[in-house]
């Protein structure tokens, strides 16, 4: 109770100092916020591309319906497969006319439908990997009535290489940004506490226990961190709105990430203050 009262009073007594600390914390977390925004949207973009990864099994024209049904069942039995769609020659032609209007007349003029019938194998999320698609395609190619099974091998490989690079750079950059933010937050709060070292000294002088002195400063640090977190979210959201309105469509980061950001700000603030005050308690 005393700690909370003192923490609030501390903010009231030194609003400029606490404001500056919160501002520095806010700017440090703003960089992390922008990075999160970019990472999240990159994830969405990669997921959207990944969703299009599928295996198309092209069937010979003379494949019997019973053989096709058998293969369809076999493919559907793979645990990684979510759905298998049969596309007849007629469906394939209609789709081509619809999706490739510039060749529309060509398809009309053709006496024979040149497009093969096929099975489109859709995969469950998390299973659209080069290994899985290759295994399914290889399995399908063993059937004599299968012309070929394709999945855009090069494209899938590149996509996953891109994903790996994305993941590695996100982890490294994220860790670097978090570290820089932590250092800035730590420094900002250390300066704030250094400015009040006389107060710590006097508290020690009159017989305050270390915990009694520490608690209001730690709470104050948490409050500065939380305020910095809120500032960072406001700045990140403003940037997001600006990008959305004037540059391109982006998605806002999930609420959980925002919550983690706020919590991290508060915890970092508290921890940094705790470390800084510890040093002063040893000195006086």
């Amino acid at each position: 109770m005393y700690a909370m009262r003192e923490a609030i009073a501390g903010v009231r007594r030194a609003p400029v100092l606490i404001g500056l600390s919160s501002g520095m914390v806010g700017m440090a977390l703003f960089v992390v916020g922008l990075f999160s925004l970019a990472t999240y949207n990159l994830q969405i973009a990669l997921a959207a591309i990944e969703e299009r990864v599928e295996v198309v099994v092209y069937l010979r024209d003379d494949a019997r319906q019973s053989e096709i049904d058998h293969l369809l069942g076999e493919l559907a039995d793979y645990p990684e497969v979510s759905r298998v769609n049969y596309v007849s020659k007629r469906d394939a032609l209609e789709r081509a006319q619809r999706e490739l209007p510039e060749f529309g007349q060509l398809f009309v003029d053709a006496e024979v439908n040149p497009l093969p019938q096929s099975l489109e194998v859709e995969l469950r999320p998390g299973n659209r990997t080069p290994d899985v698609v290759e295994r399914i395609a290889r399995g399908a190619r063993n059937y004599p009535f299968v012309e070929d099974a394709l999945y855009g091998e090069e494209w899938v490989d590149r996509l996953f290489a891109l994903r790996r690079i994305g993941f590695a750079s996100t982890a490294v950059l994220g860790a670097a940004f978090a570290l820089v933010a932590a250092l800035i937050i730590g420094t900002a709060l250390r300066i704030a506490i250094f400015a009040r070292r006389e107060e710590i000294y006097i508290m020690r002088l009159v017989g305050a226990r270390n915990g009694f002195i520490r608690r209001p400063f730690i709470l104050e640090g948490a409050m500065a961190g939380l305020a910095g977190g809120i500032l960072a979210i406001v700045l990140t959201y403003t940037t997001y709105r600006g990008v959305y309105a004037y540059l391109f469509e982006v998605a806002w980061i999930p609420g959980g990430w925002v919550g983690i950001g706020l919590l991290a700000g508060a915890l970092f603030g508290a921890a940094s203050s705790g470390v800084a005050i510890r040093r002063h308690l040893r000195e006086v």
């Binding site: 006389e198 020690r204 009159v206 017989g207």
Partner: protein, 184 residues
């Protein structure tokens, strides 16, 4: 003074205060000594931006005095040092003598065994100095020991009945009580 208050430790030997030894004292236990010894400094060491009452109340909060009892006791202490009308004044609004009185009230808040005063009049004019010394005599009259350090020989001469110790290079070279015993 710093040795008694355990702000410094002796390079050799041991300082014992109210059952606590400097040889075994740790930073974590320092509060136990500080609550038994009241300390007044030349530069007052008051918390800026807080009122006289808040500065005195701080000690009571620190020692876990029930909240309801804090304000009446702080007011009583300010009354004792002659500052009953200045309880709400900020430290910055007080004169040097008044600030030192707040510091004395704060030092008394823990009901210490002894009051240490390290050059308490060093920053004060003659009138304020006399006021502070008179206050120390009043406090002493209540049964509390008051130990004051000063370089002001003129001031010492004004109080011939006080027990006087003279230190030179950290060594006790004169004790007025011992000298009186020898003389008699």
């Amino acid at each position: 003074m710093s040795l008694i208050h355990m702000a410094d430790y002796p390079t050799s030997g041991e300082v014992r205060v109210s059952g606590f030894s400097s040889a075994r004292m740790t930073g974590r236990d320092l509060w136990k000594v500080r609550r038994r010894v009241g300390m007044v400094f030349q530069d007052f060491r008051l918390l800026p931006g807080r009122s006289a009452l808040e500065n005195v109340a701080l000690v009571l909060e620190v020692t876990g005095t029930p909240r309801k009892a804090i304000q009446p006791k702080a007011n009583r202490l300010l009354d004792q040092v002659g500052l009953s009308g200045k309880a709400g004044a900020l430290v910055e609004e007080l004169s040097g003598g008044e600030r030192q009185r707040v510091a004395i009230a704060r030092a008394l808040a823990n009901d210490p065994y002894i009051l240490l005063a390290d050059e308490p009049t060093g920053n004060l004019d003659d009138r304020a100095t006399r006021g502070i010394l008179d206050l120390f005599w009043d406090i002493n009259a209540t049964g509390m020991s008051v130990l004051m350090a000063t370089h002001d020989l003129e001031l010492i001469r004004r109080y011939p009945h006080a027990r006087l110790f003279e230190l030179d290079q950290g060594k006790l070279v004169y004790d007025s009580a011992a000298a009186d015993t020898e003389a008699s």
